[in-house]
Structures are given as C-alpha cells and as structure tokens.
Subunit: 464 residues, 2 copies
C-alpha cells in the first residue's frame, strides 16, 4: 500500500522519516537534479530513463550538471540509482515524479508522446496508493486527463486510490559561472536561483494529494511551496511564465530592429529604462529563444485557444518574431560581407556558441542551429565553436577556438558564454581572418573598438 | 545672460545657491508637481499655462494633487506663481522645463501641436543662455529638431548659446490611498514612488547641458539621475517604458480571454506565477489602458517605424487588444443581461469608476469612456459613479453612490478605487437593483459570494 492510501498520520510520518521510496521518470535536465535533491534529502530514489547511455553515466556518477558534486556519494551509498526497467524502478515506490520532456512537432503541434508512453507503462502495472507528481509542462487539462485515463485502465479511483499533482518545473538552466561544475551544495556560485531555491507552485486532483505534495516538496526545496486551487491553474501558471518570457523577448527583438534602423543602441535604451524602479523588467535582444520551454510551451496554449475558436494574435506574433531572428542575423551577415566585397556563398563563417543560452551546454532548439542551417543553405561554410557543448558532448565535431578563426570571413557571436570573454580578443583574431567581419548578437564586443581595429561590425540591437 | 552661457563655476554656484530662475511650461499632471518640487527646493519658479482656470486655481493654491500641502506656503511667499503670459513667465529665466502634453489624433497620428505652439512662443523672444529641459514624451528625434528650429529662428547656436536636454517624465499617477490628499512631504502614505523619489534619465544636446541638467535635477529629485548618451536615447527610453506596459497589459488581456473560456481564473494564475522570483513581472487583465501615456506613446514609435518601412506587428497588436477590451466587456454585459431576459437597450447600467486608474481622478483616454460610449450606442442608459472624479471636477454630472443602484439592471466595476471597497456591499445593493447583474473588470467582488447572493456574475479574467 502506497503513501496515498495510508492514514494522514502515517503518510506524514513516512515523509518526515524519509520512509517513502521515490521514482523519478526522466533523468534529463530537470529529472536528474530533482532526483539528486530528493535522494540527497534522504529518500531512496530511482531514476527511470529510456536512454541507455544516460542511465549508465548516471550510475557511474559521470554527468556534468548543477549538483554533480552530490552524485558520487548518492550513487555509492545506493541512495540513488538509474534504470531502464520501469517495473523495477516503480517497485515499492510511493511517489512518482514525472520529468519527461513534452514537445512540439515541426508543424508546431503539441507532442506529448513521451509523456503518454510513460502513462501507458504506468497503467499496465500501477500499484495502489501512488502519488504522481507531474513536473513536465503540459497543455491545460492534461494532468486531469492522465488521471482519468489511469482510472479507466487500472480500475483505481483518482482521489481515493491514487493522487495526481502538478508541480511544474521551474529551473534556471545555467551552469555555475565561476567554475563549470558546482563545487558545493550551498551558495558557492553566482546563481541565486539553483533548483532547490526556487519556489514551486502545486495544484492537485484532491486535497490529500495537495497536502502530501506540499509536504514532500518542502522536504527538498528550500523555498516557498505555493498551493493553487487546481491542476489546471498550476498548468496555466507554468504556461504563463514561459509566454511572458517569449513575448517580452519578442518585444525587445521587434524594438531592436526599429531602433537599429534609427541609429540607436537598444542595449543602452534598455539599461536606461531599467532605472525605472517599478513597472519595468529588462529583456535584451538576441538571436532568438531556444530550449524546451520558451519556443515550445506558447504553442500549447496557442493550439488550445485555436481549438475553441480564439485567435491568440499576440502569442503568435511573438513566436513569429523570435523565430525570425536567425534570418535577421543572416541578413546582417550578408550586408556586412557585401561591404567587404564578399557574399555568404563560399565564405568561412565562424559561429561562436551553439547552446541556446549563455553558460549552458543545452543545444535543444537553439537558435544557433537555425542560423547555421540558413547560412549553409546559402552556401556558407560554417565552423562552430562551443567549449561547453564540446565538453559535455565531444561527438558534435565542433571546431576549437584555436583553429576557428584561420582564414575566416566572418565571426558571429551567438551566445555569450563566460569562457568567450576570457579567450576572445579582437586584436588577436584580426590577423587570422581573411575578411574582418563581426556580427554580434549579444552586445559582446564594443562597436567602436571593433571599427577602430578595421572590422565591419554589425549587431542585433546595435545602430545600423 | 542665462545659466547656460555662464562659466561652469558660476552656473554650478547658481544651482547650488538656488540663484537661477525656473519657468515650467504646463501646469498639469506633470508640470504642477514638478514646479512645486523645484520651488520647494528653493528656486524662484513660474508656471506658464494657457488654461485660465488652471492658472487661477494654482495661484489660489486650490488644486488637489500629490504635493497639495506644499502649495499654500509656496504661493504665499511668492516662490511659485502661475501666469498666462509667456513673456512674463520667461523673464529672467535660466531654465525652462517643458511639461506640455503630447498627444495623438483620433486617427492615431502624432499630435505635437501644443509642444510646437510653445516652441513658436520661445523662438520669438528667447534670451541667450537658456537651458531647456523637455519632460514631455516625444517621438525620437523631436528634441534635436526643436533645437535646430530654435537655432534657425533665433540665430542662437545650440550647444553654444543655449542647451537642450530631455528628462522624460516618470510618474506614478496615483493619489495617496489613505487620505485623498497627501499630508506631508515625506513618507506619509503608501505610495513608494512619489515623483521626487523616482530616478530620472537625462539625455542632452551637449556635455554642458547634460552636466547642468543632472545638477539641477539632483537638487529636487531624491533619486538617481541617470545620464545617457544622447537626446534620442532618452526619448527611446521613455517610449520603451510605456510600450513595455502596453504590451504586457495586452498580453494578460489576451491570456484572460483564453483562460476565461477554459474556465480558469486569470488572477489566480498570475498570482501563482508571481511566486517565480525571476523573469516574471505580474500584470492583471482589465477594461484596458488609459491616460496620456500608455495608449498614446506606442503610436509615436509605430508611426515612426512605418515611415522607414518597418511593420511593428507586436506593438500594433498590443494596441488593438487593449483598445478592444471595452467592447469585450460590453459583450460580457450583453450575455449576463440576456441570461436575465434583458438586453442592453433600455437597461439601466451603472459604471463604477470613470478615471483611467484606481485612486486617480484623471479621466483622459479612460477606457471607461469607451465602454460608456458603446453601451449608449446600444441603447443602454448609463449612470456613472466616481467620487474621485466628482471631487476634482463636479461639473461632470455624475451620479452619487447613494442613488446609482436604484432600479439598475447591471453594475460594472470598471475602476477599483479604494473608496469603493469601503462603500460598496453586494448584500446592501442587491435589493435596490432591478436586475442582479455584476460585470467585474477588476477582480473586485468574489464570484462565489455574488452568485450565492443570486447575482449573475461575469468578469474580465474570471471563469466564463
């Protein structure tokens, strides 16, 4: 009998004494740090993942992530392990934490296939008393649907025999800036918002699930756990957070195109506006947005709205603007090369940064990938440099910083990793280049300095 | 010889010793508090305004605003006075602070006529050495154009004989909540951001203007004065701040329509999302935006972008969404009345709140005005209640709260003034109504309570 069907007293005791077992489905960007925190708090924890290499490297404690330093001990003491076998992972589990990715197809249709595969597995052999905490971001109504589907297939009743809660992941996916691997559990780096310090929202199928989930998360998250009135509200909270980002980044991207045409520097404008102590939050223009949240989650709501006959114009325009940035940057590249008597076809183009975000090694839906595709289609020869991606995934075949600039015709600063600040010097790379062109998507170089050195400098958010 | 053409030492001394005279053009929402602060800091100050009634009431110290309490002494000691005569106002002035309104026409074209009238007056008799500080929000390039126009007409040279700076107004136009009139100069109310505590951005035509303006503003603004590199950057900063508001309010308004259709409460969702400690800033859905900034200033940039062949889609959609909210609310009203066997035509509709913002008496471009127009066009009989507007402008012919609800068919909560919280009680108004319909644009009433009392309750951002 799992925790959900035990008496309140007994289930509270089980959490307090770390007597319940936890299965975390998905050992990726979210699942692994969550599982690490849970097992580090004292719970016997098993990670279920379908990726063999991932499972092996977790079990060897060989993954680089925010809480890497905690992993060896947890693996060694068998507090935490990973497996490909769902049945084994679930054996004796009181709580299932779902951290599988939810995606969109190329046609921007919602793709919950990975989540549904998991639900299928679950339905075929779920035991009574399970508390299911879904962290994956999902369209509104999904958690309830999952509950009803399990009800149907398993014969258990939602809210009586098992419970569902939605605790949407909130994560600031940045590797520590100072050292690439976090050295200690508490404040050793500049990241104020590591996973265990970010407040969480919880919605649930019933009061008992809500109370249990709040207690459980409070045992490993050192921040406020905020209950909301339903699964759907929790789903909408996460979607709203991602849409807020997408729209505000789209806004500065749109503004930056106008300001550049008017000869103004958007970065200086945003910094000026940031001195307003209320009703403003700075966002900066860039190559666009990436990762598995911002370019994906808005589509969950867009498709849902369209189905009920609403036209979410603002959300769609925001998506369009952010998705258009790589092509805008390719235009800047074309103009800058033209000014030097070249075109993209046949030119050697260096792209600095493949990850979707500074100081991250995550390349999923990175706008750099779109930019590279565009340049290649136009006949450009692309060399990609990203020391962080290379470190985590050497198989990418990236070019090293040492070799990248030889005979290059343009350098595109796409992602401003800390490591680039230390290693890239305009004066030093200048003699290596064939054509002195800089395209700066991150306000990384100083325009005046670059131009003084003889570069043709163009940048997102910089005067045209 | 005015302050601008004096030696650095002498001009600094003049500011320090309050030896310079200041003219403030425009004695309205911005100009009057600015002039009050300047003269309260010790400068001899004259307000120039073309509105006779305004000039008279300032000179009688009979205006209700944030710093009302400072006015009587300043008027009595003749530190501050208002006049209709521009020449007299400017006589011996070292600094001109421009606070005249800038607007748009009904066709959403930029209308700077009031500013240009002032520039015309200025050109005909400006003396050497004037420092002109423009606080009015203007399209990018306007301040420079004004400078060049003055150069041409007056023969003075910009940057040599006179200076121009742009210090875009930043104002949180809320009357103190506890008492409608501020009782003291320092923290006596809940408003953390009274005018003298809001940081300011300064751009200027030249270094001297910049330095002088920073010194001058530092003498009466008790917050950071932030210099930026040009007049144009300062213009863009203010425009960006207003656009940020417009777009973010439009975003929640768009979201609220979807969430209402999905049966969810947008206010609960935004409150949940607000627990995210980074990358989120809460905005709430409403009847739309009003005042002379948010619905106006985005058009300055939209028109400018269009002129150079750019299509600012996001900015235009945001304007469209916010402008559409009154008609969305009229739809809610229609549905709620229909559920009670009535239609808008022939019904008595009570609109609570005419100001564009809570605890303000400012009705300029208030979305309530649009809503009232729509209801009237549909044949509804409108009664408007706004104790704050009535206090400041009794000639509006508003209905008192005591009489409003008699035989009414619907109550629309448009603006959530503090005073409404104290005086409106659903139980008490219910028996007065003919039809129990509540349309809530501000999450003011509790839906459950209203429905329990027998009301048909519909609201912006509330479950449909």
């Amino acid at each position: 009998m799992g925790i959900f069907t035990e008496s309140e007293e007994k289930s509270n005791e089980k959490i307090k004494k770390r007597g319940c077992r936890v299965c975390v489905a998905g050992g990726g960007t979210i699942g692994l740090p969550v599982a690490t925190l849970i097992s580090n708090a004292g719970f016997q924890t098993v990670i279920f993942d379908t990726n063999k290499r991932r499972v092996e490297s977790i079990n060897k404690a060989q993954v680089v992530f925010e809480y890497s330093n905690l992993l060896p001990k947890l693996i060694k003491t068998k507090k935490l392990r990973a497996t490909l076998d769902f049945k084994k992972a679930m054996m004796g589990s009181d709580i299932l934490v779902v951290c599988v990715p939810t995606q969109i197809t190329k046609e921007k249709e919602v793709d919950l296939s990975k989540l549904m595969e998991l639900v299928n597995l679950l339905e075929s052999g779920m035991e009574e008393g399970l508390l299911i905490s879904i962290e994956s971001t999902v369209p509104i109504g999904t958690c309830k649907k999952i509950g009803l589907s399990i009800e149907k297939k398993s014969g258990f009743r939602l809210g009586r025999d098992f419970g569902i809660s939605h605790v949407p992941e909130r994560y600031n996916p940045v590797l520590p800036r100072e050292k690439q691997v976090r050295v200690g559990f508490e404040e050793k780096t500049g990241n104020r918002f590591t996973l265990h310090k970010i407040p969480r929202v919880v919605g649930a199928s019933d009061k008992k699930s809500l109370a249990l989930t709040v207690k459980f998360y409070s045992s490993f998250i050192k921040a406020k756990i905020v209950p909301v009135s339903s699964l759907e509200i929790a789903e909408a909270v996460k979607i709203t957070e991602n849409i807020f980002r997408d729209v505000n980044i789209a806004l500065v991207n749109e503004l930056s195109k106008i300001y550049s045409s008017l000869g103004l520097d958007t970065f200086e404008i945003i910094n000026g506006a940031s001195s307003k102590p209320f009703a403003f939050l700075p966002h900066f223009p860039s190559l666009g947005v990436g990762g598995e949240c911002i370019p994906v989650v808005p589509w969950f709501l867009i498709r849902q709205a369209e189905k009920i006959g609403l036209e979410p114009k603002l959300l769609k325009i925001a998506r369009e603007i952010n998705d258009s940035m790589p092509s805008y940057v390719a235009d800047l590249l074309e103009k800058a090369l033209k000014a030097n008597g070249r075109e993209i076809a046949g030119s050697n183009i260096v792209v600095l940064g493949l990850a979707y975000k500074a100081n991250s090694s995550d390349v999923r839906l990175s706008p750099s990938l779109s930019l590279i595709e565009i340049i290649k289609k136009m006949g450009g020869k692309v060399r990609i440099c990203d020391p962080l991606v290379e470190k985590v995934n050497p198989s990418f075949g990236l070019t090293s910083l040492e070799k990248a600039f030889q005979e290059a015709d343009a350098v595109i600063m796409a992602v401003d990793h800390e490591v680039f600040r230390k290693k890239i010097n305009l004066k030093k790379i200048k003699p290596q280049l064939r054509t002195p062109v800089i395209i700066d998507c991150k306000n990384f170089f100083r325009k005046e300095e670059a131009e003084l050195l003889g570069f043709t400098y163009k940048g997102v958010g910089k005067p045209d």
